[in-house]
Amino acid sequence: MTAELFVQTVVNATYAASYMALIAVGFVLIFGVMGVVNFAHGELYMAGAYTVVALYADQGLPFFVAVAAGLVFVGLLGLLMELALFRPLRDNPLGGLIASIGFLLILQTIAVLGFGVRMENVPPSTQDKIVFMDGAVLTYQRLYVIVAAVVLLSALWIFLSKSKFGWALRACAQDREAASLQGMSINQTARIAMFIGAALAGVAGALTAPLVSPTPYMGHPVVVTAFIIVIVGGLGSLEGAVLVAILYAFVHTFVTTVYDGTLANIVGLLLMLVVLIVKPTGLFGAKERA
């Protein structure tokens, strides 16, 4: 492997780690607070990408306006899911999973009806790029994703550790009943968690739209990846999700570059299987809730 290829692969892996971390952290947040596996998370990511398709590629609004709209729109979708599906099914975790599958099918169909099944082509918002000394390239489009991941995840971390809402959120994730006995509103925290979790997926989708050619079915591989990251990192561990997203992105990108994509997927799954066998709670997971 030449130095140029090596640096290029590191750059690619950093980009992949950034958007995977955004998605996985939202997924963990929703699982931690709501206790449901949100199968529709990949479709929230897809909805973010299609917001950019509609507002930026079709209507010609500025790119960042479209991204902000994607964040808000997908966040609202998250609120809708909480209100209509997860709240009535709070005592039925398997039910939440099934309901999210139903929601996924609805979102997919809306995308197909609105935009068709073929790939959308989103023109890049900028042609600028950074060229490293040995020839590796980082386009600004990818840099935006990396910057957004760092900024948003830091903001989330500060929010969770410093603000009152953040404390309530973490308390709910630890023990819902005890938290509600202390006077925290379960509905309120669930709403916040759903909004943030969904919005992070939406932002990831919106920012990567010019890079990946959105299709209505783009969410499926993404949710599988999120699954792997979250399990290896430990359910309910946000730090674990970020660290494993980085680890997974590097392993996956390097194996893809050196061998091929399918082998990279197999390696990722086997990694997850090994972690589950050796330490079922994940690398950074706490003990399972009783």
């Binding site: 209509a84 039925n92 099918l105 609805i106 169909t109 499926h220 599988v224 299987l273």
Partner: protein, 344 residues
């Protein structure tokens, strides 16, 4: 005396009901169009698939590897029939046995976990197997993403052409009926009771000497065997298998059938798959809303989980209770008249 009376009536009702069901099942394909006959064949195969899935859920574990295990049966049976020239009926059984063997091997790592972790780990194991079929380095064996084509069909027997959907439907019906009978007997046996015990009280079961690992493994192996058999039936009917046929989306369908039908009773998942298939293939297709179908399906799924959380099977006792209520009313009325008679 009246007790024995009701016993004979229920028996007669049961007998009449089964006879009616048998007649409907035999007559059904002749009332349908060609494409509907094909759907019927898949429906019968799916009944076996979802019923075998239920056997594992008896122990309280939900697997996401079932579709892949079906694929193992399909790939094995198709490959050995095509490449080695093994007769198709024998190849089918070998395919099913291979799926069972794989489940046996997988249960060593997988049953170190329970509940949600088992669900995810079974998903990872299944996906890894499925991606192996897709992998370009193994294309010479599994055919890569395009899979295996030109799998030999079921051979003619007594000059019955099993290439015809109607005849293949009857073949599947017999195979599936025998399999369901076995699954039912397993559930009603001591083994099945132990499965229930492991589900509801695994610590207690262990403390009275039940080897819970062994029983979980047994449930997994049996359910994998019949999933593999369903896969083999599928492979030799369609004549081709591809990795995407056994993806997570297919697994999600199995889950949906089981959950919408309900898993507390033997007939629950079967009701689920039959009702949802009729809904999806017949009613939604007749409405000419092809592109909207997934949306309507998703909406129905949400509605059923919100308003019928215990599955369609939970309607049966209600209907029964409704009938029994009427019968009881009549019975009390009769008793009242009988009591009143001597007084008159």
């Amino acid at each position: 005396m009246p007790n024995r009376d009701t016993n004979t009536t229920t028996r007669v009702v049961w007998l009449l009901g089964s006879a009616l069901l048998l007649i409907v099942l035999i007559a059904l394909p002749h009332l349908l169009s060609f494409s509907q006959q094909e759907i019927l064949v898949f429906l019968v195969i799916n009944v076996l698939l979802v019923s075998s899935y239920r056997l594992l859920t008896l122990t309280g574990e939900w697997s996401l590897a079932h579709a892949v295990l079906m694929g193992v049966g399909a790939y094995t049976s198709g490959l050995i029939a095509k490449e080695l020239g093994v007769p198709v009926p024998i190849a089918m059984i070998i395919g099913a046995a291979t799926a069972g063997l794989l489940a046996f091997l997988l249960s060593f790592p997988l049953f170190r976990m329970k509940g949600f972790y088992f669900l995810i780990a079974s998903f990872a194991a299944g996906e890894a197997i499925r991606l192996m079929w897709k992998w370009s380095d193994l294309t010479f064996l599994f055919g890569g993403p395009k899979g295996i084509k030109r799998i030999p069909p079921f051979p003619d027997f007594l000059s019955i052409d099993f290439y015809e959907p109607v005849n293949y439907y009857y073949l599947c019906l017999i195979v599936v009926a025998v399999s369901l009978l076995i699954l039912y007997r397993v559930e009603r046996s001591r083994i099945g009771l132990t499965f229930h015990a492991i589900h509801w009280q695994d610590k207690l079961a262990e403390s009275v000497g039940v080897n819970t690992f062994r029983y979980r493994m047994l449930a997994f192996v049996i359910s994998a065997f019949f999933a593999g058999l369903a896969g083999a039936l599928y492979a030799h009917y369609v004549g081709a298998v591809a990795p995407n046929r056994f993806s997570v989306e297919e697994m999600v369908y199995i889950l949906i059938w089981a959950i919408v039908g309900g898993t507390a009773t033997f007939y629950g998942p079967i009701v689920g798959v039959v009702v949802l298939t009729i809904l999806n293939e017949v009613i939604l297709r007749a409405l000419h809303v092809d592109e909207m179908r997934p949306m309507l399906y998703g909406g129905l799924l949400i509605l059923s989980i919100l308003f019928l959380p215990d599955g369609l099977e939970s309607l049966v006792p209600k209907i029964k209770g409704w009938f029994a209520g009427r019968k009881e009313k009549r019975a009390t009325e009769e008793r009242r008249t009988m009591k009143e008679q001597p007084a008159e």
